[in-house]
Symmetry: C2
Subunit: 477 residues, 2 copies
């Protein structure tokens, strides 16, 4: 079986995993509980209902999964209060945001990190670093694996003096947000990096981009964003907030939402997996499972395919009918990328709970990359899904691990890899895919829909043209 | 006030700490809840009872705190089964233990790490690295911050082949224990070190001693120890197991047990703190608080004072009446030392729950040390107690943070440091204390009881004599 599903049901404790209590042999029977083999609905929190058209309007509030902490955080100041709040903030000391800081402001303000209401104070930061979760006032726990922090330098700290509030200024100089009841504490970069990435090797993209150049202090506090964050890059209409996504799922009468996080072009192996997941959810008794195809839209490393190209490619995949637009919502996840493997995949999953997803698809080596200084993967490729499955605060999310898809040379299509017929399969890595596109070669038929492939070829050609031009400029100067 | 007490009561959720739910100003009021000011007993799980002599025997099972997981783990094979078990184990492939491995066998076998029943399998190891806790079958969580793992090299792994069980052989070649239903998985040292210490800087003592030279595989499984671990160093009578300690506390009719972890000689500042804690527990309504003076007895770094010297020094402290033998139990905690600050202090506290302690004293920079390559403390000195106070699975333990004691030059005694009279105080660090002893100088009167001080002077003199002898040998050879 290419896909195993393990149900976490919010109202019952983890039954499938019991560290010391049961022997390994027993665990083997319990762990990858094939819910297809049992009656899965008996373990589901609710029975999906068929709604007639008239009923639909009456019950616009669907049974989507609850956001972490129970209430979706929304920190965008109401329109009527904006002028006043902005005027008040004029008097506050200012903190200049980098592009990545701005992405985090965006993320926090829309509630992706619910129940977090601002940049972390030290007590939240320490819980994240040590426990990957935050304890709530009622003793319950929410997942929070990445430190969502704002760094400032000595000069900015000095300028803040004893002020309780600061204004946050975008990279363009606009006053965008306010941080209230601030707390300033030390930014121990080495410890943050070691505990987040499990390495301090030089060459981690997010570290080099956002941590090494950052200040030696962190500033936490309660965030208020003066107006919704926009990027004016022609893609803002794709940036649906968790609130907008929940509304969309409600309107589509989704009775299950399965999220697929990606930062790469969609090939037919991905599509196979997503379509197969939908089929299986239907088999389980859901009437209308909706796919959230959710490319990450914040900072990515230089050799990843840029967001605008990916969005164009994803459009083609839907246009070409590889994914069904009726049952798919394509939207941008505004978070920057850490490439922090098992630590980061928890964040990716947790944020999708807040957007209404109750199923999360996790593959091999999620949020992983090569070790920056050694010839190996930075993370054990299986650790991501293992850690995700055990993560505190994610018990209510259904984790869907999947086996890898590869190109079946006999059937001439992408298929789930079958180790017993290994020689029939061709693995086409991201690097290999990029090499094809760069050299103007075509990948084997059936690897990706032609429309999607064209987008990539066009992008790599433009990249080459740009490189050639730059080389010429360098040579002539 | 020099000592603040924060109550964690097992049956109610953390009231004092509510991450996002309440503002900072409120938190300030809530956090260091001075229970002396309220009626502490109303928040205690039980009312201490006065027991007459006849009643004492009838209720030998006291109301000591439950061990983690509910049952104290005891992995020492019963005497009647030893011959058979040893015979069976003769046929198993063998794993040779280092001295530190042996200390861990000791720790696990006596239930200090309850509910852990052997060296960690990967699922436990990953939970420890990422979450500092393990989830139990019933959904509850126990603290487990240090990886308790056994490393093997390629040759040993190859020799084990597909065997399900292995024999564990002590440094002297004796078959000591068995590991059953084993699981072998990769030992990613870099990740283990980074996530445990928050640094990968060279020079971490435990890393250099026990991890760098270790094999590239970890072997987990269920432990059975063929007979109680003994060191035959004249100190075994001090090595009470959690079971023995619980029995001792019961026999003394303790209604509160407060643990003091240390790896240094006891000076009068420590004693002040311990006596003050007892006084305050009496004020709270406890009738018979017992101090567990619990020096760490496993591996320590080379410049720490050796265990035998410390035990002699501790004896003098009790002989000299600085601590009251009637209300003090001195015992050795057999764990090796990681020097992993906020991560390790959780282990130190958790293990004492298993020994029956429901109050844990935590100071500045617990389990900390200087950064091995930079001129600063490796950990923020306040992080230890903060992390300990928020640690999952330790809610039932009452954490007792304390302010630092220093030598009051006016009153000529150790006293809690008063920042408003800072110039009256002299801080005598461990380094300074060692310098005094090494140079045959006396510290100020009242720093340490004379009997205890003599022990240290004698040790450092013998150390110097030894060094001189070695230098002479080197020069003459």
């Amino acid at each position: 079986m290419s896909l195993t599903i393990k149900l976490h049901v919010a109202t019952t404790p983890h039954l499938w995993f019991r560290s010391q209590e049961i022997g390994r042999a027993k665990l083997k029977n319990v762990r990858p509980r094939g819910v297809y083999l049992a009656n899965p609905l008996s373990r589901l929190p609710r029975k999906p209902k068929m709604l007639g058209h008239s009923a639909a309007k009456a019950s616009i509030r669907s049974s989507l999964i609850d956001p972490d902490g129970g209430v979706l955080v929304d920190l965008v100041v109401q329109e009527k209060d904006r002028v006043l709040k902005a005027k008040e903030a004029e008097a506050f000391p200012r903190v200049r945001l980098t592009r990545i800081d701005l992405e985090w402001v965006h993320v926090i303000s829309e509630g992706w990190a619910s129940p977090l209401k601002g940049f972390m104070r030290e007590e939240q930061y320490l819980q994240t670093l040590h426990f990957n979760c935050l304890r709530m006032g009622d003793g319950s726990v929410v997942n929070m694996s990445l430190p969502i922090v704002l760094a400032i330098d000595d000069g900015t700290k000095d300028a803040i003096r004893s002020s309780q509030n600061v204004g946050l200024v975008g990279p363009d100089g606009d006053l965008l947000a306010v941080l209230r009841s601030i707390e300033i504490y030390k930014h121990n970069k080495e410890e943050r990096i070691a505990r987040t990435w499990g390495t301090t090797a030089p060459g981690l993209p997010y570290v080099e981009e956002a941590i090494t150049p950052a200040g030696n202090w962190l500033i936490g506090g309660d965030l208020e964003v003066l107006k919704p964050i926009k990027y004016n890059d022609g893609l803002d209409h794709y940036r649906l907030s968790p609130k907008q996504l929940r509304k969309e799922f409600d309107q589509r009468q989704a009775d299950a939402v399965f999220a697929f996080q990606l930062r790469n072009p969609v090939h037919n192996g991905h599509a196979l997996l997503m379509n197969d997941t939908r089929r299986r959810l239907l088999e389980m008794g859901f009437k209308n499972p909706i796919l959230l195809l959710h490319p990450l839209g914040g900072y990515t490393k230089a050799d990843d395919v840029p967001l605008n190209v990916r969005m164009e490619q994803h459009s083609k995949v839907l246009e070409d009918g590889v994914l069904d637009p009726e049952t798919t919502v394509v939207s941008i996840f505004p978070s920057p990328m850490h490439y922090a493997g098992p630590t980061e995949v928890q964040w990716h999953a947790k944020a999708r709970i807040n957007a209404g997803a109750n199923f999360y698809i996790v593959g091999r080596d999620p949020a992983g990359m090569g070790h920056p200084t050694e010839k190996r993967d930075l993370y054990d490729p299986d650790h991501g899904k293992k850690v995700l499955s055990m993560a505190p605060g994610l018990e209510k999310l259904n984790i869907l691990p999947f086996k890898v898809a590869a190109y079946n040379m006999v059937e001439k299509k992408m298929a789930f890899f079958d180790p017993s017929r290994a020689k029939d399969f061709l693995f086409i890595s991201g690097t290999k895919m990029r090499t094809y596109a760069r050299n103007g070669e075509n990948p084997p038929d059936g690897f990706m829909c032609p429309g999607g492939w064209e987008v990539l070829v066009k992008y790599y050609k433009s990249l080459q043209a740009e490189e050639t031009k730059q080389q010429a400029t360098v040579l002539s100067s």
